[in-house]
Symmetry: D2
Subunit: 367 residues, 4 copies
């Protein structure tokens, strides 16, 4: 179960950071949907490191080899498998990991979980690098959705104490939704983005790191999709989003803010607009009872600061059970949330495609 | 899939608010675990309405009939099914629902999802009443866990602008953990609880409602349990917790607060205590890489305000597509988060038992 | 997982033979499909015991109470739960079971599996009585399929050395398909049925039992439904059919007979008939590559003889580990295959509805 | 769902016959189990073609590249992915497939299922070649089981009218179990094997093919493993075995033969042997109520004749809807059952490991 997700669309992710490769199998895609590889590359490149000082200098060539499920430029409907080779791996950087727990990392818990047999190099299966196949799979799902007029975008909404504007929940338009993702730094407001970059750079200079928050929006998702209780859109998105390393919180619409609101403030009045039933406000983030309302779907994902920092940290050698001081060197983003922006979009795309397949079946989506 | 959850422990919830009954099937429980019915009743009564002015006056007799899986005071290991009869249902209260969308409710989305065929009386399958079987199932899981020294408690951490103290993440003790659940009003600090009650009462008096937040803690959960990516403890808990009506956010450990922290602040240093590896702080909420660290597991769940309020609201008749003004009368809690405290504990218990069964199998848990 | 089945339609069966009741939750049904309760009763009555000398004299009142998911004569789309109360249970008949293994029964394996905690009265969760909720669920699925022109029938094709005619694989018509199920004894050929009844009566008189085989056919199932590898129609039907107690074999089309054939004999030539692509013969039983061809779907299920016989049998007391001689008295069908005919139809209906939901989604089936 | 199987161990198979490669992801393996690659190669080579006149002359190099989950000679516990490259593909052989249905093949049903978008070259995802990753996965599962004393073997039990001896159900020893798999032709009796080879050669000479049957046995599987209803060992094995192309029947123990038996013949008397509870006979094939008895597990799988034959066959062009005559040339085994012997062992190994993980958890199997 661990690394397999989904009910109507199944996602199986494999790989370790410094093994031969990482990849994904997507089972249940509708057949005959054209996938534009250049568009897919543009999307996955948004996650790629090395683009600026805010991300790790490790060079990745994340362009995948499609092993199956993709033929003549389109999905075949059978399992789509894609492999991303690992290159430029410097395993000596990680030699301590088999015994010394990096604080905030899964070294110790992974050691217990796998009885010491897991591949620890570069974080192994726990590495943030595993978001590459997730992003790839999500990029494919995004294109399937886009052909049905469903558009997904995300932006960096907070870094440290510094916040971007939020999407306007009730009046989000496509241009605004997509602009941050196409910008050099993924914020709605360029000046706020510049401030965030300074916050990140400051942390990096001080051999530290900083947390961040990503907001994701979806336009064009049809109303009436999703299911009650555990089949809700929130459940599906959250169960995927918590699979992204460093995620510690997920909220929809007004989210935790709604805890402080009154019902009269939080309820979204229904109204008619051009003959369609819409809500005037959108505190619900486009989801009621787990089911889409037709309004923009909105959620936010909170990322903890990158645990790998160069400052000396107190820890233990868990094999020998003795205290130790650790400085984590190597190549690490000072703020994982920056590159996570497209990963969050990917999670949304996969969750929503799963829900759409439940509603329409493969025949409904192939037509 | 909608109302079925789980991989190693399967939970199937059924029922509508005003139908013959609601209930649950739990499949995969270890056999031969004694279940104390009085203890179970005490637990489920914490969710029951009608106990004070802060909850709906509807009288429920939520004591279930065990239909299977329970024999001689213990689990049999085969599916445990329990039925809670619906009584005291006043369906005339809900007659408008088939056409007029209550803002903040699933009336409109349910209408679309089920092509108008779903039972809308009292909210049907979307009713908060469906948390009764979830709580019952969780109460059973709690007892299974308690026999292994795993203890779960929760409290109301916020209502409106009014907040309770938080559990101490690194030094939580069992007495503190359980005290709120046993109190008449589930807060750590009695005076803060009194203030919250006034906030709720104020909202009720003004024909309004208010949101709230619940914090849940777990002590004694063994380290090394859980799985990476989509099998993480966070994924499991969140995918259940978002099945509780009105939940709009879930966060673990420091959660969204970590977005503003530095790595040097958020990382929990490992240390040795009585020969055990522990962390000095517990920003991670007891989970790293989806796997338990052995420290207290901590998460918070945000509830929106009860959408049913008596104030006039703007809405539409979705069958006839015309505007309407609605006043929702009937019996509704002015703050759903209060009674949700044991429901959140239930969700935690089920998710953690699922993870424990993955680790130990039924044989490991029957021994 | 044990008693939960399905991916697109989920079936959760619970109950023990002598507990309060047995039942089923069906999750994923399309909404708004009328279910005719009289037709459903006629179908489930075909499984009911006590109709003639060939079945156990125990009186059952298998008419279920619908607890949820059924409103105004139709499915609501939310989980449909139904409860069948246990009456007329004579638990003293089964007092030996907690220690003495009935040969051919699950007493010993159940004891090991559940560490001695399972409810053994009347076979508990292993009882053939658990086919009642399966049949009920299948009867509902049959009606959903019938509205789309899909018709399912079955007959007793063999008892002891005595065989009925087979359905004509390539030219099966609806009248022939359904006739056995409506007859007092479910065979195509009345005289062969009379012979079978004598074979069964002979076994009963000699305090023995006899095995049997059921053939099931499906007309009107659209071509192109199903999936390769583990999602094939054969996989789905078999994984359900082996859940019927006493089933030891499942085969499709020519089945095991095909082991002895040449490709030139077994391959079904494609041809055109009224502009439709059909096959001239139907050795494949309507399934190629796991996917329907549009020809009649045909499979056979082999049942072992009822293990409960009154003849003295050699066995052991598994608690005290000593040899014992056992005579099983009580009420037992001398040939379980007779009453299993509608159960096999039910399994087919559920498996095929699951596959149809994969193809068309709930929206495609609600339209 | 289609090409993903399992609950406690998850198997995801991908690939098309003439695409870049085929492979498998195994999720849920216990960590730290040594996998001997030479032993694994010996096992998978038993499925490899080109070894004698009875199998297709296509040269395959089925030695996989392990992409993840395998480190330092052992499982890591994280998803194990393996890739088998496709070489020596002669796609021109298959050019007709996009329009002309080969009788007995999935060309037509696949066309309908995937709206004409699936990769048809060499049968695509429906190719028998997809049994290579299944065999590989099963070979790994076999080694995990072997470390616990569980041994699996199979043999060709019938070809055309010509049958091998059966395993002795109650007195099967390891040498007998494994001998056929190690022989040049996988039968228990060498002379009967020689006769079978002549039957196959005769079919081949006549441009035809022939069906066959495989029997599989398992020794050392502990009693009390498996679950009732849909979680039975039979359900698990069958749901996998029907995923092997050309399988049309699966039976356990006496299987369909039991339809003709009396209870007094078919029931296996329990007895004590060296203090252990065993059965004197083993008509049940080691499974009662879906749960292992501790006796040898035995089942048989029926394969239809290879549908690809060189004799002229009547068919249709399904794109143009017109009749056609087809001669299938290219490289095809005249009897798929021969090379399927290790594939059946693989299916058994995977199903039994899934059941063992349910019972013991990953911790129980890592210890």
């Amino acid at each position: 179960m661990p690394s397999i997700w989904g009910n109507y669309l199944k996602l199986s992710i494999f790989g370790e950071s410094h093994g031969p490769g990482i990849g994904v199998v997507l089972d249940g895609l509708p057949a005959g949907v054209p996938i534009d590889r250049e568009e897919l590359e543009r999307f996955t490149q948004r996650r790629a490191p090395g683009k600026n000082r805010n991300s790790t200098p490790r060079k990745e060539n994340d362009w995948p080899e499609f092993l199956s499920g993709y033929w003549n430029g389109a999905t075949t409907g059978t399992p789509l498998a894609a492999l991303i080779r690992n290159h430029d791996t410097q395993s000596k950087d990680y030699s301590q990991m088999q015994a010394v727990a990096r604080p905030g990392h899964a070294d110790f818990t992974g050691f217990l979980r796998y009885a010491g047999a897991n591949d620890v190099r570069g974080g192994g299966h726990f590495s943030g690098r595993l978001t590459a196949p997730l992003t790839l799979a999500g990029g494919i799902a995004k294109q399937v959705l886009a052909r049905r007029g469903i558009v997904i975008g995300a932006h960096l909404v907070q870094v440290g104490g510094c916040a971007d504007l939020l999407y306007d929940p009730a009046n989000l338009d496509e241009e605004t939704l997509l602009r941050p993702g196409n910008a050099p730094f993924p914020t709605l407001d360029e000046r706020l983005g510049a401030r965030m970059q300074r916050v990140i750079e400051q942390a990096r200079m001080e051999q530290d790191s900083v947390g961040g928050m990503v907001e994701c929006g979806v336009l064009g998702f049809p109303p009436g999709i999703g299911s009650p209780m555990f089949g809700g859109l929130e459940n599906r998105i959250a169960s995927l989003a918590f699979g992204i390393p460093a995620v510690k919180g997920v909220e929809f619409g007004d989210g935790f803010l709604a805890c402080a609101l009154r019902g009269s403030q939080n309820n979204d009045p229904f109204t008619l607009k051009d003959g369609q039933i819409v809500t005037e406000t959108n505190h619900a983030g486009g989801i009621l009872g787990g089911i889409s309302t037709g309004m923009p779907i909105l959620f936010r994902v909170g990322f903890k600061p990158t645990p790998s920092i160069s400052l000396p940290q107190k820890t233990v050698n868990f094999r020998e059970k003795r205290p130790e001081t650790l400085e984590v060197h190597g190549r690490h983003d000072p703020c994982v949330a920056v590159r996570a922006v497209p990963v969050v979009e990917a999670a949304a795309a996969l969750a929503l495609l799963d829900a759409l397949l439940e509603a329409q079946g493969y025949q409904g989506m192939q037509a």
